[in-house]
Assembly symmetry: C2
Homo-oligomer: 366 residues x 2
């Protein structure tokens, strides 16, 4: 069955990568062992890890004074690890409240007894636009500013990193390597692989060396300095997830890197947004300047019709278009591995669905 998978994550991966994994699954590099069986202390895996780190550095043009770590535990793990490692001076972090995941990050830091201050929020407008700093952050108040760079659930993204006089910790889980950012603008970036990189089970942390230091009394698997000292092999790493992500990184380079991905993601998302904006049935709530290139939130604004849409789309092989349970509606994630053909198929389907439900569009436009 040929399908397009619009899931927000775990999500579609490049077909050639899946094929390569399948091909070499029984025996990696003619070793007689599967990637699932090789030791993380083997030369083979050390090379896989070194290549993955080098390729992320190259793709993102990461300056030499940053480390790239492969950890476990996802964004939720980093919501704890970031304050535990970085908020040691003031025990206080600042936040731009741009939606669900920003709030979750704040709640986790609070749970761990850090002070959390929301400097700006767009909650009252249902997060249709991004909160922005209209002030200089008071000196010596906060250890860092947490920013959710791409808001997977609300369909918004900071295309310009907020100017900040304190280090920014950027949650880039859902547009990692899908859009060009200047790493120098961040003290730290983190991303779960399972959206725009690879399979679930590995989390990437990119951190400026000067922010890392040994911290007393925190769990070792969260300790960035310790993990950096051990080249992300403090304990057994998720070998397969790193291997698969590594293949995606190589694929990204072959395709032309982050700039090419951004170009394609802009082309895909613009085409889809353009369709939504002219539609009499479908609606996109996100403000134009703040729209995500990777997660497109839309709706017919009728719950039952949204539900019918998801069902009919599923039958047509257009999968996982249901919006996040916290906001409802519809969502199409157009990650790096989603080809333009998938977007075209989706638009064709929306067009037909709209035609089939003329009575609703008339009602709406009245």
């Amino acid at each position: 069955m040929s399908v397009y998978n619009f899931s927000a994550g775990p999500a579609v991966m490049p077909k050639p990568v899946i094929e390569q994994i399948q091909r070499e699954l029984p025996s990696l590099n003619n070793s007689g062992m599967s990637i699932l069986e090789i030791s993380h202390r083997s030369q083979q895996f050390e090379q896989i890890m070194a290549d993955a780190v080098a390729n992320i550095k190259d793709l993102m043009a990461i300056p030499d004074d940053y480390h790239v770590l492969f950890l476990q535990g996802g964004g939720t793990g980093q919501f704890a690890a970031a304050p535990l490692n970085l908020a040691t001076k003031h025990r206080s972090i600042a936040l731009l409240d741009s939606g669900h995941w920003a709030a979750k990050a704040g709640a986790e830091a609070k749970k761990l007894r850090f002070h959390v201050t929301t400097l700006a929020t767009t909650e009252s407008g249902k997060y249709r636009e991004l909160p922005r700093l209209n002030q200089t952050i008071p000196a010596n108040s906060f250890d860092y500013l947490h920013v959710t760079i791409n808001n997977t659930i609300e369909g918004t993204a900071y295309h310009e990193v907020p100017e900040s006089n304190i280090p920014i910790v950027g949650d880039m889980s859902s547009n990692f390597l899908g859009e060009r950012y200047d790493v120098k603008d961040f003290g730290m970036i983190f991303a779960g692989a399972q959206k725009n990189l690879g399979p679930a089970g590995v989390t990437i942390v990119i951190i400026k060396d000067e922010l890392m230091h040994h911290v007393d009394g925190i769990p070792s698997i969260f300790d960035y300095q310790l993990n950096a000292d051990k080249n992300s092999m403090l304990n057994t790493p998720p070998v397969f997830a790193i291997y698969a992500s590594g293949l995606v990184l190589k694929w990204l380079k072959e395709q032309g890197g982050v700039d090419e991905m951004e170009k394609r993601n802009r082309a895909k998302s613009s085409k889809f947004y353009d369709y939504l904006d002219q539609s009499h049935l479908f609606n996109c709530p996100a403000f134009k300047d703040d729209r995500s290139l990777t997660n497109i939130v839309f709706s017919t604004t009728h719950d039952k019709l949204d539900q019918a849409f998801v069902e009919e789309a599923t039958n047509a092989g257009l999968l996982n278009l249901k919006g996040h349970r916290s906001v409802g509606g519809l969502r199409a994630s157009l990650y790096n591995a989603m080809p333009m053909a998938g977007v075209d198929a989706l638009i064709d389907f929306l067009y037909q669905f709209e035609k089939d439900h003329k009575e609703v569009t008339t009602h709406v436009s009245n």
Copy 2:
């Protein structure tokens, strides 16, 4: 190239499981999506997770008042999570110091500012035998007793769980499902998958419900109660590692379950230990009653000869026989997925190696 992989972990997996993963990698159950791409919120994955939990419960005859959790972060993560969740009353744990990993568990708890008391140690005897309790543990002193059930590095295992009047937390990473234990003897069991279960990237926790409770101020990904409430899907779980482990669980059931595995592991390890015990060159340091069924530590007692052995064995397709860097020597891990044919090939190789190095055996026996 046909090889036998004696790695202590990540380690050999059953061949039929690798073949099944390969076969269904491009499209799981004719969904058009790879297991690497399906959402953890999909019905397909919910079934995979439910089956995996049910099969572990069945295989280990786990009583109804225990939960089975799939987490991330390995044993090192659990060295932190266990005291954070369970040592809330006395902030104090007891330990049987049976070797490297027991000491690591103690060090991590100390790092997190728990009191750690070693009730028995066999360090002075280089951990060739297991430490045993020769006293009743004082009431109201410790929250639990940490026991490393199988000592991967030292090649020892508790075949009888120590009698304890406080809950036991058992680290079963390297003989999980390879030997029959009564789960009722434990307050909690944990195991990284990458030794005797599946690929690296998932950690199993089996915990008695009465020991679980919400704990303030600990990282959410470590919170057992929270993870239990969310059926191990508090955040995106390591989908592929759970799927692959699930296939191994099904294979284990087809093979006859834990009792059959223990029978085979006893047969495999006995044959190998018998060979070592009659050898004039190779030596097994572990005391007979305490020998592990899964990790067999041995040596020629000559560093250079051990090194030559590893090199020649590697050339013969007998891989990863080097002992852990902390103790040197040699080690063969004979996990559930290692067939008797692998043990036979290894013994044949030892026999030939001994014949080729007669001058040393003569020297040793003088």
